[in-house]
């Protein structure tokens, strides 16, 4: 993925008419204008406003809006809920990324085999991606009830299942698992495309050398697909920080605050407790986490990724 680099294939064409270039510039600006204007209004200005609001005490119900400097940030640091929220967010994101990436890789390797009916399997593994998110979450909520389908299945083999959504640990596991099965198909398909792009000659050479299959996987496959792994891990981590519907539908952040991730907490503070100023402060925290993670992973790309297009 090349982001900042300008299209280098462009050869400087010798055309003396400066009007042509000018017309081109104008065309360029007109082409990007709708999106630039939209991004300015709906992304950049709101981002600036989030910073501005975070410096205010703003209670919508009490109709107060008053500048108070960094007071919200002091509240943030002394907020007894914050460590729990950040803890839950960290556990959720790390659990999700590890489970998602390893399952996606396993499925991609399985689907990369030459077998009859493999397309059907691919379709079925991918199918939850297109099932409405809230519909998917509702069914899992139904399945995870104390007397629901999962515990009934467990009971039929003599295991007494826990009340999944009512204990902190199992509730966290549940929201992670529900989310992974919903979206792992996307990463699976991207990994599969990457696997199919690995030149076969590499494996043939390794086979001639008598390299065992597992070593072929760690020494050839993984390095060759590392750009995809890195890109999907960025998308997955940033996506995991935005998880909201699943939490709202399955656990409402509970039991206690065990599944209250940052976005859910932000929503509660701003739109349930009407503390807009503090909500904006939490937004800044979310923004910084996303920005730092993206930056770190972008830097890692240079060191870890084996090759680039």
């Amino acid at each position: 993925m090349t982001v900042a680099a300008p299209p280098s294939t462009r050869k400087a064409r010798k055309r003396p008419f400066w009007t042509m270039e000018r017309r081109d510039s104008l065309a360029g600006y007109l082409f990007i204008a709708p999106q630039m204007i939209g991004i300015t209004i709906f992304v950049l200005i709101p981002l600036a406003l989030v910073f501005w609001y975070s410096l205010h005490e703003w209670n919508v119900l009490a109709q107060t809006f008053r500048f108070q400097g960094l007071a919200n940030y002091q509240t943030l640091l002394s907020d007894p809920g914050l460590p729990q929220v950040l803890g839950a967010t960290t556990i959720f994101s790390i659990g999700l990324v590890i489970f998602n990436m390893s399952l996606a890789l396993l499925l991609a390797v399985l689907l990369d085999q030459k077998l009859k009916g493999i397309t059907l399997y691919r379709t079925l593994f991918f199918s939850p991606v297109v099932v409405s998110l809230v519909a998917w979450t509702i069914v899992w909520g139904f399945l995870l009830q104390n007397n629901g389908g999962i515990n009934a299945l467990l009971a039929s083999v003599g295991i007494e299942g826990p009340n999944w959504l009512r204990h902190p640990t199992t509730a966290m596991i549940s929201v992670i698992v529900v989310q992974v099965f919903k979206n792992v198909g996307l990463n699976m398909v991207l990994f599969l495309a990457a696997l199919q792009g690995v030149p076969r000659e590499l494996y043939e050479a390794a086979r001639v050398d008598g390299t065992p299959a597992f070593r072929q996987f760690t020494r050839i496959t993984l390095p060759m697909i590392s750009p995809t792994v890195l890109l999907t891990s960025i998308i997955t981590i940033v996506g995991s920080l935005q998880v909201f519907a699943q939490i709202a539908v399955l656990t409402q952040g509970g039991p206690g605050m065990s599944t209250t991730v940052l976005v859910y907490y932000l929503y509660q503070q701003a739109f349930q407790f009407h503390k807009f100023g503090y909500g904006a402060t939490l937004s800044i925290v979310l923004f910084l986490i996303v920005a730092i993670l993206t930056f770190v992973q972008w830097q890692m790309r240079r060191k870890l990724v084996f090759y680039e297009d």
């Binding site: 081109d24 990369d112 139904f142 993206t294």
Partner: protein, 280 residues
């Protein structure tokens, strides 16, 4: 690693895949079958994998309890608008950033990319305030405008740019020599070639809009304006307990049409996404 596998390994691979398939397929099966069971059977023990008795009356209840047809229309037309708008604006911007030389193009592209770091979750408080000021609370405007210009569209622009960069530019050169304008070239030459990338953009934009949940519950307050995800959670009894069978019937109606379209077009779907320039 496409080698011919020994029969024993084949059996293991099939077995493993089939077991792994259960959590991907069973929930959808359980949703559909439970929605047509009488309420007394949905928590039956041992569970009925196949319904023993049928009761379709819950489907009628869905439409009695909420203006579900209206909500269905809301979700559908919002997703259609968002998809069309995103395809239009992101392909135009992606084309310009890939193909047209103009001052500050790279700086402007970096500014666009910043949008990737700012999902609507970060800016939801000021967005609420802005739409409140414009008198657009409890309307569908926020649900259309925010995705068309927010992080999902930035992602789409990025995908389109990657696609147009890879496109051989000779295709356009001839047209330029013939004196065709930029917009004509874009519309009649570049865009038709970009169909695979546009398809991928359309799919993930549609799904993004179809699944939106935070924005609807922040911006919408009256049931006739609700979108499907929000409506699904509203089928509750007087105490807030879930009416499971009604919820599952509504969920089935929400999920099944998209699922069927996907199964019919699964090849274009999956391969379109896989080869959309996402793979780096």
């Amino acid at each position: 690693m496409k080698t011919d596998l020994s029969p024993r390994i084949k059996v293991i691979v099939y077995g493993l895949m089939t077991v792994l398939l259960i959590p991907f397929v069973f929930p959808t099966w359980w949703m559909v079958t439970s929605s047509v069971k009488p309420i007394s059977d949905i928590f039956a023990f041992p569970p009925d994998i196949f319904p023993r008795r049928f009761d379709f009356s819950t489907y009628g209840r869905v439409f009695e309890l909420q203006p579900f047809a209206q909500q269905y229309w809301n979700s559908a037309y919002i997703a259609a608008l968002v998809t069309a708008g995103t395809m239009m604006f992101s392909s135009m911007a992606g084309y310009a950033f890939a193909r047209i030389r103009f001052p500050f193009a790279n700086t402007l592209f970096m500014i666009v990319l910043i949008g990737l770091l700012i999902p609507a979750e970060v800016t939801i408080v000021p967005l609420f305030q802005m739409f409140l000021g414009w008198g657009m609370i409890n309307t569908h405007w926020p649900l259309v405008l925010i995705p068309i210009f927010g992080a999902p569209s930035v992602f789409a622009t990025f995908v389109m740019r990657q696609f147009f960069i890879a496109l051989p530019k000779e295709l356009e050169e001839a047209a330029r020599v013939d004196g065709l304008g930029r917009f004509k070239i874009f519309w009649t030459i570049a865009l038709p070639l970009a169909r695979p990338a546009l398809g991928a953009v359309a799919i993930f934009t549609f799904l993004h809009s179809w699944n939106l949940y935070l924005e609807p519950i922040v911006f919408l307050s009256s049931p006739e304006n609700f979108t499907l995800p929000q409506a699904l959670t509203q089928f509750t009894d007087a105490y807030g307990g879930a009416l499971w069978n009604v919820q599952l019937a509504a969920a089935t109606m929400t999920a099944l049409p998209v699922l069927i379209v996907f199964i019919i077009a699964q090849r274009q779907f999956v391969e379109g996404l896989a080869h959309s320039g996402l793979k780096g």
